[in-house]
Structure formats: structure tokens, C-alpha cells
């Protein structure tokens, strides 16, 4: 009996006393203690020691006289509009057809020309060229995907999540395990948390401007997550490409349906949850991140059952009321209720995932789309966005900037590349839903742009638009009946969609031009253009067929994923990422076999020469027009970490997704039948971007890495020593 009473007492303690009293108290006490805790905390994503040394050695005080004074007086402003994926060929054609009158006006009164992209012309690489004024050898971003030389596993190149360290020091000097268990509960608190690290190296041009006293606003520039912290508080920035959703992914949607299709439980970029409508009600869960505040070892020990990854995710129950006949439903989630009519997206809804009752909550925002109420119930939920006003990961610097934006324009998409191309790819979206969702992204971005323009009185404003890039990827097929993915019935109605987007940008430019004063330099540029992606080249298949890549005995090529199954003791080269080819070099790769130096160079020359002669068996076209050798095209301290060969694919060709993921499909080249039908990861000469300025420029062949010295030059600051380009105005 006594033990029963004690049990009840314990239960009451856990149920009421802990959440209401002890946990907040414990949280407060922890905060006080943690203030004195240290651990092997991750890099703050700011400047490395080398970067600091580089900045210090530059001698800002020797800057051209009058710069600081001019800046302080607000005499000089630079507005940079970054329109990802704006294609030079298409822009020129539409200008010639009279559909872009404001771009035409700007070209005639200022400067206009193609802007060379990076090698390879991938957005994180290209924008890093723009940011640093260096090529990939100077900033260390070579592809969307890099190879971990110790494990041969791929990882995302722009940012890295750093887990909390195993050990920490209490009060700065008492070593102990990095967790503090809360008595009577399954909760543990790390003494030192993890973090995120921006993997782009080098110095951003706005850091130079900041050091010179120029106030900067940097909105959503790619390869800037977490945002570079401002040293002086005069720069405000919001991270762009590389920014995850609340799950830590690059966007994972949720789709609730009464009609799941075969294979829907294993799609990439989203989760499909089967649901049932009972008496007009659907009960479901929205999943958040894994709850790292729980001691799963303890739970498993107590229950005797293993906790799966999905079981670790914190979930939020929600209920949907569905009318039995009308195409309408209501979602009730947390304190929010949203009525949805079929085909319409809701406004943003705040969702709070409770990690520790009454102590730790992770805040996100979602939109709902009732795709269908009848006969099947289909509800799409956007990836849970990090709430800019209450950030679980740092997406703005300072954090108050996020709050300010939310107060000014409301919630908005914070993840990188928010257009949900995955939902389109998997048939959760049709063209109609995709363009509607993209339109929301575009309109939100425009609201923020208007807000930033309204407070742009001095210094630099960089503003990024990503819609054209993502829509060109996903909707290219609609304007190209020769594309293998073209479906006349579905796509013909959207043939002019991309053109319409260009026209929208023309309208925006018109507004900008009408408000531009004589002290403002306008630079409008894109990081690359676009090309159709008709055929996908399977690099690892070629390496396997030619004997450069060897599998372990018993493995068939089709079984290989993430390069698992490769016999590294006999493999000389492998492909990873969209454009990268690596030589399995001794002393660099974990199980490298090719001697560095002459042997490696000979192999690079041999493979590059052979690749450039390859022709498509179906079209007889050259699939790879240039195989660039990293040692020849890159400059700077990080060029030794680059892939050895960078593939310059021909027009209409691209490295396959399977190649990027370390797979070996059965054929060498195949039709691209995906919705992702346009691309830019070809040879960079095929996909030039655009450069518009409001005064003429003299550079005959401007490149992205010329833009950082150009912007610095506008403020009277000379080109820095690591920059490989020069101002386009010189």
C-alpha cells in the first residue's frame, strides 16, 4: 500500500509539480549554470583565424581618403539585385520582343551583358564566387555535394550541423559528461549545445564594407548559413540557400491522404501519411525535429523497446474537420483554426513543438493546402519553416532582424529554395499547385524587398530572388515540347509561365528605376543562366565500364548507393556530386591507391581527354565539352580540396542525380523524364547569367568574381589581394 502511495505521489510529482514548478526553476538554474559552461563548441560560422588575419593585414585605415566620410554622409548607395538563374539568352530574346521594356531601358542607359558563371555553374559555387571575389579555390565550395575523404560519404557543401560535444566543463573547469538529467523524468539538458557551421571560407565583400564603416543589408544570399555575424552591428543579414527547415533538412513536406500510392512511403523530400476520415474528422500528427532533450537509453532500458528515429520526433496532434460534400475543411492545430477550401493555401500558422514541458519549445510556421476533400482526402503541409521571429537556428544576424521582418511583412518562407519542387516531382503537386505555391514565395519575397527598399537610405542593400531559378528547373519542360518530360496535356497551358516570371521581374525593375537617385549604383545580376536538361550522364557507370571504378566481389552496379560496395583498394577514380570527379589518391582519400604527383596527374589527363571525346549513342552529340582540371582553373588555398576534374557538360546534358548520390545505374546515359527539366550544371560557357548596371561598364567579359571588387570600388575601396577579378567599371 505504501509503495502504491509513493507511486501515486511520484506520478503527481511528474504530472503536475515538475512541469509547473520544478522545470521552469530547473531551466532557470540551468541557464545560470550553463553561463559558466564550456565545451568544444563549434565554430561560430564567422571569420576563421586566417580570415581575421587576412582582414587585419588589409589595412582598412589605408583606404582611399574620403571613403568613410562619404559613406557616413550617405552620399553613396549600392543596390544589388541577385536574380538566381536569369538567363542571358532568354532575357535578350524577351528584350528584343519588347516584353521587358525596363530591362531594355536599363541596358540602353547603363550597361548590359552576359555574366560568366563559376566552374561548375552551380548556385552555391557561383554565389560564393560573387561573395568573396575568389574562385572556388579561394572559398572552398566546389559543388552542392562534397566528398568526405575519410569515409567517401557525401555531405552538403555549404553548411554543417555540429552535434553537441560528448564532454563539457561545468563552470568552465569541472570536466563531466555533457548532460544533466532532470530527476524523475526522461529529460536531459546538454550543458553545451551543438550548432551550425558555415562551410564557405574566405572573406565576404560585405565584411570588408562593414570594416570600412559601410552599413549593409544582405537578404538571403546563398552560401551564407548561418549568416556571417556582424562584427560591428552595422550589417543585417538573413541566410539564404543552405538554410534548413525545422527538421534540419532542405525542405520536407507532409502529405496526408486517404489514398496513398505504392511507394509513397519512401519518397525523398517529403513524408506521405495515410489517414482515415471518421465521421467527418481526420486525426493526424505534424512531426517536428527529434527531441534531443530525452534520454533514449533510459527509455529503452525501461520499456525494453528500441526507439526509432521517427519515434524520437516531437509531434503535434491536429484535427481536420471535413464537410461530407462541400470542398472545404478546417484544420485545428494548437491554438489555431484554419478553414481551407480546395486548392487554396492557408496563411502561415505558428506551430510550437514542446520539447520539455513548460521549459523548451521549438517554434515553426506552416501553411496548409487542401488539395482534395472528396472523394479522397488530401492535405499538403509545407515543410515546417524556422520561425524568423523565434529562431531555433540562427537565420538572421542579429536575431532581432528576423522579428522586425515578421512584424513588417508577416511570416514568410525561411528555408532555402522554398519552391516545393519535390512535391511536384512526386505528384503531390501538379503544375497548378506548384505555380500557386511559387507565387506565394515570390509575393512574400517582394513584400520584404519593398520593405527593405523603404528603409534603404545608405550603404549597401543586397537582395536575392530565387523564384526564377527554381521555376526554370521545374517548368522548363512546359515551354519545350521536345523535352522528354513534356506532357502536352498537362504542360501546354503553362508554356508561357517562365516568360511571365521574367515579365514580373521587369515590373519590379520598373519600380526600382523610378525610385533610384543619382547617388545609387544599381547592379542586377544572376549567377548563371539556364539550359534544358534532356539527357542525364551517369559518370560512375562510365568509370565502372572503363575499369577506373571497381566493385567488391558479389556486388552488382545497381546495388551501389553512396558508393557503398566500391572496392577502394582497386578503384582509381569515382564521381560524387553533380560535376565532381575524384582521383582516389593515396594519402588524401582514406584508402587511396593512386600516388599523388605524376601518377595522379597522368590519370587526370587521361580521364579528362577521354571524357571530352564521349558522344551520346542516341544523338551523337558530345556529352562533355570540357573536363576542367581543378589544378588549372582554381586559385587559392582551398584548391587542393577540390574534386580533381570538374565536368563541363554539353548543351542539354547534366550529371545524373544517381551520380551525385554515388550510384551506378545500368546505362551510360538516359533521357531525363523528371519534372526537374531545366538545369545549369552544364559547361559554364553554355549558361551565362546577366549583368545590368545603371551606368556603362567597360569589362568585356565580366565574371561573377568581378562583382565583389566592383561593389567595393563603388565605395572607393580597392580590390583585395585574394580577389581574382576586377571592377567591371574600370
Amino acid at each position: 500500500m505504501r509503495s502504491m502511495k509513493m507511486h501515486r505521489l511520484g506520478y503527481r510529482l511528474r504530472r503536475w509539480l515538475l512541469p509547473s514548478v520544478l522545470m521552469p526553476a530547473a531551466a532557470l538554474a540551468l541557464m545560470a549554470v550553463l553561463a559558466g559552461c564550456t565545451g568544444d563548441a563549434p565554430d561560430d560560422a564567422g571569420l576563421t583565424e586566417e580570415d581575421r588575419a587576412a582582414l587585419a593585414s588589409l589595412g582598412y585605415i589605408e583606404m582611399d581618403s574620403g571613403v568613410r566620410e562619404a559613406v557616413r554622409a550617405g552620399e553613396k548607395k549600392v543596390l544589388v539585385m541577385g536574380i538566381d538563374g536569369m538567363d542571358w539568352v532568354m532575357t535578350t530574346r524577351l528584350m528584343d520582343e519588347g516584353k521587358l521594356p525596363h530591362f531594355r531601358q536599363l541596358a540602353e542607359t547603363g550597361g548590359f551583358g552576359p555574366l560568366l558563371s563559376s566552374i561548375p555553374p552551380q548556385s552555391p559555387v557561383a554565389w560564393s564566387n560573387f561573395i568573396t571575389g575568389a574562385d572556388p579555390g579561394g572559398h572552398g565550395i566546389f559543388d552542392f555535394v562534397h566528398c568526405d575523404r575519410a569515409t567517401y560519404m557525401p555531405y552538403l557543401s555549404t553548411s554543417q550541423v555540429i552535434p553537441a560535444p560528448e564532454r563539457a566543463k561545468l563552470l568552465g573547469f569541472i570536466p563531466m559528461k555533457n548532460e544533466l538529467a532532470l530527476p524523475f523524468t526522461d529529460y536531459v539538458f546538454p550543458l553545451v549545445g551543438g550548432g551550425t557551421m558555415n562551410l564557405r571560407r574566405g572573406v565576404a565583400f560585405w565584411q570588408v564594407l562593414e570594416a570600412a564603416g559601410v552599413p549593409c543589408s544582405i537578404f538571403k544570399i546563398p552560401s551564407n548559413f548561418p549568416p556571417v555575424p556582424s562584427e560591428t552591428g552595422t550589417t543585417r543579414s538573413m541566410s539564404g540557400m543552405g538554410t534548413p527547415d525545422i527538421l534540419g533538412t532542405y525542405g520536407t513536406f507532409s502529405f496526408y491522404t486517404t489514398d496513398p500510392w505504392p511507394g509513397s512511403d519512401g519518397i525523398s523530400g517529403g513524408y506521405v501519411y495515410p489517414v482515415r476520415v471518421v465521421n467527418g474528422v481526420v486525426d493526424a500528427k505534424l512531426y517536428g525535429p527529434p527531441n534531443d532533450f530525452k534520454d533514449y537509453e533510459k527509455i529503452e532500458e525501461r520499456t525494453g523497446e528500441r526507439v526509432s528515429y521517427s519515434g524520437k520526433k516531437v509531434a503535434l496532434d491536429f484535427r481536420v474537420f471535413v464537410d461530407p460534400e462541400n470542398p472545404v475543411a478546417k484544420v485545428v492545430i494548437g491554438d489555431s483554426e484554419v478553414i481551407l477550401t480546395e486548392g487554396d493555401f492557408s496563411e502561415w500558422v505558428e506551430v510550437d513543438f514542446e520539447m520539455v514541458p513548460a521549459a523548451v519549445t521549438v517554434s515553426g510556421v506552416v501553411r496548409f493546402l487542401l488539395k482534395s476533400a472528396h472523394p479522397e482526402f488530401e492535405l499538403y503541409v509545407t515543410p515546417v519553416q524556422i520561425n524568423a521571429a523565434n529562431q531555433v537556428l540562427p537565420i538572421t544576424d542579429p536575431p532581432e532582424y528576423g522579428k522586425e521582418l515578421v512584424e513588417a511583412v508577416g511570416h514568410f518562407y525561411t528555408q532555402n529554395m522554398p519552391e516545393d519542387t519535390k512535391a511536384l516531382e512526386h505528384g503531390v503537386f501538379g503544375n497548378e499547385e506548384f505555380t500557386k505555391q511559387s507565387g506565394i514565395v515570390f509575393d512574400e519575397r517582394l513584400k520584404v524587398f519593398d520593405y527593405e527598399l523603404s528603409r534603404f537610405y545608405e550603404g549597401l542593400l543586397y537582395f536575392y530572388f530565387g523564384s526564377l531559378d527554381q521555376c526554370s528547373h521545374a517548368m522548363w519542360r512546359c515551354m519545350d515540347p521536345s523535352h522528354p518530360a513534356y506532357n502536352a496535356e498537362e504542360d501546354a497551358a503553362f508554356a508561357d509561365y517562365l516568360e511571365g516570371l521574367y515579365v514580373k521581374f521587369d515590373v519590379i525593375l520598373g519600380d526600382v528605376l523610378s525610385g533610384l537617385d543619382e547617388n545609387t549604383t544599381l547592379i542586377l545580376l544572376s549567377d548563371h543562366g539556364f539550359a534544358p536538361w534532356y539527357r542525364e550522364f551517369h559518370l560512375n557507370r562510365w568509370l565502372y565500364d572503363e575499369g577506373y571504378l571497381v566493385l567488391k566481389s558479389g556486388m552488382s552496379p545497381e546495388q551501389v548507393e553512396w558508393l557503398i560496395g566500391v572496392d577502394w583498394g582497386r578503384t582509381r577514380a569515382f564521381g560524387l556530386g553533380i560535376n565532381g570527379l575524384y582521383i582516389n589518391t593515396k594519402g588524401r582519400e582514406a584508402d587511396g591507391i593512386v600516388e599523388p604527383g605524376a601518377e595522379a596527374q597522368e590519370l587526370i589527363d587521361e580521364i579528362a581527354a577521354r571524357l571530352e571525346t564521349l558522344r551520346d549513342p542516341k544523338t551523337d552529340e558530345r556529352m562533355i565539352v570540357r573536363a576542367y582540371k581543378a589544378a588549372e582553373v582554381y586559385h587559392g588555398p582551398y584548391k587542393t580540396t577540390a574534386p580533381d576534374i570538374i565536368m563541363g557538360y554539353g548543351w542539354g546534358y547534366r550529371g545524373s542525380d544517381q551520380t551525385a548520390g554515388g550510384q551506378i545505374p545500368s546505362s551510360l546515359v538516359s533521357d531525363n523524364t523528371k519534372k526537374w527539366s531545366g538545369d545549369h550544371c552544364a559547361d559554364y560557357h553554355h549558361v551565362p547569367g546577366v549583368l545590368f548596371t545603371n551606368r556603362a561598364f567597360s569589362h568585356r567579359e565580366p565574371s561573377l568574381y568581378d562583382m565583389a571588387p566592383t561593389i567595393l570600388g563603388e565605395f572607393g575601396i580597392g580590390k583585395r589581394e585574394w580577389m581574382v577579378g576586377r571592377s567591371v567599371f574600370e
Binding site: 465521421n279 467527418g280 474528422v281 474537420f321 464537410d323 461530407p324 462541400n326 470542398p327 472545404v328 475543411a329 478546417k330 483554426e337 478553414i339 477550401t341
Partner: protein, 276 residues
């Protein structure tokens, strides 16, 4: 009950009429100060002033005793006990006036609630209208429709929820003005006033039109309660809560009301010679 509520409402309409064109905070402050004075007066008339004064004196004495004998634990603990004792005694003497204050303050709060609790819709606003049906009426079987006045549109089909006995629609405000939403049922039409506009000051409107004979009918006296024989139990328009009443800061009107009333009461207690 409705005639009484209507009378009180009309009285408040008259009281607040001079502030109609002003910022809403003006009327709220005036009502709060007057309420503070009235509460003070009622407190003075309904409480045992002598006992309250005596209890307060004893309280002060024991608090001082705690301070003076803080190094003598036995005296200090005894003083603490007395502080608790006279605190309870003070509460006891306050109970009677609180009972007398409760009813008038409740009436005042209800009247302020239908003027300060919500913002009217503004053109472009999207909100939801909820019709709660009487017990036993199934939403999917009830033939209920919604008609909107000029300046307001119904933009969704009816969402009928048997599980909770409700029907909902989404509406959009297009133009400023006051109109009437009509919930049409086989047994008749139930109207609900909808208000669209900016800077409406102390305009009187409620989010809820309740059924007669319910507690809500007392709390939402802006419109006549729905007849008891209707299949409609209540109609709600989901207005936003009023924000930024005090110098642009977000305060719930109740905090302002109580804060100002109490400050006014304490500030004037000496003037009226009332012990609180």
C-alpha cells in the same frame, strides 16, 4: 433579462457618446477613473471602516515588530504569525464590500467588453463565421445557409461539422460599414451584426450573438439574444482582439481598466476619507 441589459447598454451608450470621435483609450480611462471612485464609495459604505483601520494599524505594528526584533527569532516568528492573522482578518473585513462591488463591476466590465475587446474587420480581412447548432441538431442535416450584406462576401462553402455541431464559413470584408449577416434556417432567419471599419472608437459590437437564457446572453449584450426555439444556438464572428490601446503598446483592456480603477481609488481615498 434582456430589457435590463438593453437598458444598461443604452445607458453606457449615452455615457460614452461624448468620446465617440476620440481615441478609444479616452473613454476607457474616464470610465475606469469613475469606476474607481464608485468602487471606493461603495467600499466605504459597505465595509466596517473602524475595524479595517484597526486591523491595518495592527498589521503595520507587527511588521515593524518583525523588523525591530529581527535578531530575536522567537519574537520575530510570533510577529510573523500575527501578520498572517491580521492579513486574514483584513481579508474578512474586505469580503462584504467585495460582494457589493461584484455586481456593478461585472456590469461595467460586460459593457466595456462589447466596446473594447475586439477590433472591427478592416477591408481585406478574412475571418470565420461559426454557427453553433442547438443540441441534437446535426450539421449535415440542417438546411442552414449564410447570406452576407453589401461590403462582405462569403468565400467558402459551408463546412458542416457533425462532430461538434457547428457550421462555418469564411467571409471577406470588402468595404467599411455595418451590416447584417443572415443565417437562414428552415425555422427563420438569425441575424448577426458585422462591423467593418477603421477608427471606430467606442463602437459597440460583439463577436458572439448568444442564445437567450444562457450566461453568454449576459456577457454579450450587444445584440438581442437568439430565441430559445431556434435551431441556432449562437453565431460568432471571429474578430481580432483589440491591440495597442495604450500608447501603441499591447495591453488587454482589462489590465488598463483594473489598473486605472485601482490607482484612481487609492489616489482619492484620502480625499473621501475612506479606509481601504
Amino acid at each position: 433579462m434582456w430589457p435590463v441589459l438593453r437598458g444598461v447598454t443604452k445607458t453606457f451608450d449615452i455615457i460614452l457618446a461624448p468620446f465617440a470621435g476620440m481615441h478609444p483609450i479616452v473613454g476607457l480611462l474616464v470610465v475606469s477613473v469613475v469606476t474607481g471612485v464608485v468602487m471606493l464609495f461603495i467600499f466605504g459604505k459597505t465595509s466596517n471602516q473602524k475595524m479595517i483601520a484597526s486591523t491595518k494599524d495592527k498589521l503595520k505594528a507587527h511588521i515593524m515588530e518583525m523588523w525591530i526584533f529581527r535578531n530575536t527569532p522567537s519574537v520575530m516568528f510570533r510577529a510573523m504569525g500575527n501578520v498572517v492573522r491580521y492579513n486574514l482578518q483584513y481579508l474578512k473585513h474586505s469580503l462584504r464590500p467585495i460582494v457589493f462591488l461584484f455586481v456593478p463591476v461585472l456590469f461595467i466590465m460586460v459593457q466595456l467588453g462589447i466596446r473594447y475587446a475586439h477590433e472591427p474587420l478592416i477591408p481585406g480581412d478574412v475571418t470565420v463565421v461559426t454557427v453553433v447548432l442547438a443540441d441534437g441538431v446535426r450539421a449535415t442535416e440542417a438546411d442552414v445557409t449564410l447570406e452576407a450584406p453589401d461590403g462582405v462576401r462569403v468565400v467558402s462553402p459551408a463546412l458542416r461539422m457533425d462532430a461538434v455541431g457547428e457550421i462555418e464559413w469564411k467571409i471577406v470584408a470588402d468595404r467599411c460599414g455595418t451590416g447584417t449577416l443572415s443565417v437562414i434556417t428552415p425555422g427563420g432567419t438569425v441575424d448577426k451584426v458585422v462591423v467593418v471599419g477603421e477608427n471606430l472608437g467606442t463602437a459597440r459590437f460583439a463577436s458572439l450573438r448568444p442564445r437567450a437564457g444562457t450566461w453568454d446572453a449576459f456577457l454579450y449584450p450587444a445584440e438581442q439574444p437568439i430565441r430559445r426555439d431556434s435551431i441556432v444556438h449562437s453565431v460568432t464572428i471571429h474578430y481580432e482582439a483589440k491591440q495597442g490601446l495604450l500608447f501603441g503598446l499591447t495591453f488587454h483592456w482589462l489590465w488598463i481598466f483594473f489598473g486605472v480603477s485601482v490607482i484612481a481609488g487609492f489616489a482619492l481615498k484620502g480625499f473621501f476619507g475612506i479606509e481601504v
